[in-house]
């Protein structure tokens, strides 16, 4: 029943996670993650037929506030750009997502 995280699967989830691994890392992660998944997979032995999922421990719900801008935690342009390593004319500079194809 256990799910093996093959190196190929590790390569796939790394892609989903925008991470890069060397071949040695892929081999190591495959071994380690399989062992971890095997351990936590023991939850399949717990009967949960009569209970729903939750991530809420305090029961808090629907917290709202007036729809007004609170300037005490807004950044101005220079604050927003203060930490970037790549900017141009007051904008963040990012790598191109679409490339022009020359016909």
């Amino acid at each position: 029943m256990s799910d093996k995280l093959s190196q190929k699967k590790v390569e796939y989830i790394a892609k989903l996670s925008k991470l890069e691994n060397s071949k040695t890392e892929e081999e190591r992660f495959s071994r380690q993650l399989t062992k971890i998944i095997d351990y936590v997979g023991s939850l399949s032995n717990v009967d949960t037929s009569e209970v729903g999922p939750t991530n809420n421990t305090t029961g808090l719900q629907n917290i709202s506030r007036k729809d007004v801008v609170d300037k005490s935690h807004c950044f101005n342009q220079s604050e927003s750009l203060s930490q970037t390593k790549s900017k141009s004319k007051g904008y963040f500079k990012v790598e191109a997502i679409f490339e022009q194809k020359d016909e």
Binding site: I13, L43, V51, T58, R65
Partner: protein, 466 residues
């Protein structure tokens, strides 16, 4: 000068002019300079900010005398913040190379509240990168060593905070506890560590790890100080909608449950003996004990290692190296492991089997814990299966490292408060402690027990040698 033990003694000394605010900071910095190369508890030391602040207080106390404590109840309390807490204008790394040069443009609510209350920031502390770790060894800036024996880990992930308080590099420290990250290092370093009720302290401006679990925590040598700090930091914050002000009705003669599942195989015998001895001591102070059973809690650690990586993979997705910080290639091994584990348990074909299953078992454990508090008022438990272990002992086996959080997981996934209190030393001189958990928002009864215990014991007065 001799450093004060706690906030109360410090206040008296400052009012009586036994030392100035500046002399106080001089003394802490001297200790840091002498020994922190060895311990590695700080990533950044904020000397200039600290001196600017104490110069102000030295002037204030001349003109206003003891009245300054009305406005600044924690005036002169030297604090260090885990590097997970954003500090405006001061480098904040989360222990990771991804943020090696990140200077926040704002401070977290907790940092602001403590500053407003008069605390003096002395430095930002070392930690497992992103809060990922139980030993402090996953810091990208080198591990924090245990103040009681440098060959041992300090515990993590709030490793530097615990070591700094233990070494008297600062009087109090902040930490974050997602699954033991305040309690375990506090325990390994012989100080008090509080993980409050989930949602009782604002997390605004604190780097997120796993949002349904992350709690802000506090560390000090005494329970009384942890309580004073918590009373400042807790409470509703318009910048964090997750904070609530819960109600708790106090019982007069608290009964403490001993969960039988927590004292079986896998627990170090010196810890077991120590806790049994302390149950007798607490008994002589009027606390009643009762054995209880929590059969589902054995699954808490598995629930945690599914839910947490799932939330980590989502929270760490924001680090794109575009707006701030470095590229994702700067993530080190443990963060990568958790991000990938999270992506896996959330991926198509596996989400039902792992993530949703864990969220259901979590619900069952919450119900089991809520039920036990109909029967008893608090629970006593170990903090970790062993005392501090050797550096490198578990670092090649992630699963083995993960199981170190086994006693921390119950309070984390159910959102209840827990406090770890130093309760002695092993034959080799390493600190031992125990953990007390209570119903949501019952911090007051945990503090009362901790204060009562510490009034009758002296373990917390021991200081490791410089």
């Amino acid at each position: 000068m001799k450093l004060p033990l706690d906030i109360k003694e410090n206040k008296e000394n400052l009012i009586e002019k036994r030392y100035s605010f500046t002399e106080l900071v001089d003394t802490y910095l001297k200790r840091i300079r002498k020994s922190d190369k060895r311990i590695n508890s700080f990533i950044t030391i904020t000397e200039k900010a600290a001196y600017d602040r104490v110069r102000f207080f030295d002037k204030e106390i001349v003109s206003k005398g003891s009245k300054i404590f009305d406005q600044y109840p924690l005036a002169g309390v030297v604090v260090s913040h885990k590097d997970m807490f954003l500090t405006k204008g001061i480098k904040t790394t989360a222990g990771s190379k991804v943020l090696s040069d990140y200077i926040p443009a704002y401070s977290s609510t907790v940092v602001e509240k403590l500053e407003k209350a008069g605390c003096i920031l002395i430095g930002k502390t070392n930690q497992d990168a992103w809060g990922h770790g139980s030993s402090g060894e996953n810091s990208d800036f080198g591990p924090t060593k245990n103040p009681w024996n440098e060959k041992m880990v300090s515990g993590g992930s709030s490793s530097g905070s615990a070591a700094a308080v233990s070494m008297q590099f600062s009087m109090i420290a902040t930490g974050t506890d997602t699954c033991g990250s305040v309690r375990v290092p506090a325990n390994y370093c012989g100080i008090v560590g509080l993980k409050p009720t989930y949602g009782s302290v604002s997390r605004y401006g604190v780097i997120a790890m796993a949002s349904s679990l992350d709690s802000i925590g506090h560390m000090a040598k005494t329970t009384e100080d942890v309580e004073s700090v918590f009373n400042i930091t807790k409470g509703v914050d318009s910048k964090d909608a997750n904070v609530s002000k819960g109600k708790f009705i106090r019982e007069n003669n608290p009964v403490i449950g001993i969960p039988k599942e927590f004292f079986v195989e896998g627990l170090d015998s010196q810890i077991k003996d120590n806790i049994e001895k302390n149950i007798k001591l607490l008994g002589s102070l009027g606390y009643k004990f009762k054995e209880v059973s929590l059969p589902l809690t054995k699954n808490a650690i598995s629930v945690y290692y599914i839910i947490m990586p799932a939330e980590v993979s989502s929270n760490l997705a924001r680090y794109d190296g575009i707006r701030y910080g470095n590229k994702r290639t700067s993530f080190s091994e443990e963060a990568k492991r958790r991000i990938m584990l999270g992506s896996y348990v959330l991926s198509s074909g596996y989400i039902d089997k792992y993530y949703l299953k864990a969220a259901k078992v979590r619900n069952k454990i919450i119900k089991e814990i809520d039920r036990v508090f109909n029967d008893v008022d608090m629970l006593i438990a170990p903090v970790a299966p062993t005392t501090a272990f050797l550096l490198g002992e578990k670092s090649n086996d992630p699963l083995k490292m993960y199981l170190n959080d086994i006693y921390a997981a119950t309070a984390s996934i159910t959102g209840i408060p827990a406090i770890s209190i130093p309760s002695g030393f092993t034959k080799d001189g390493m600190p031992i402690g125990f953990q007390i958990m209570g119903p949501r928002f019952s911090e007051k009864i945990l503090f009362d027990l901790g204060k009562n215990y510490q009034e009758n014991t002296t373990h917390h007065l021991e200081v490791p040698s410089l």
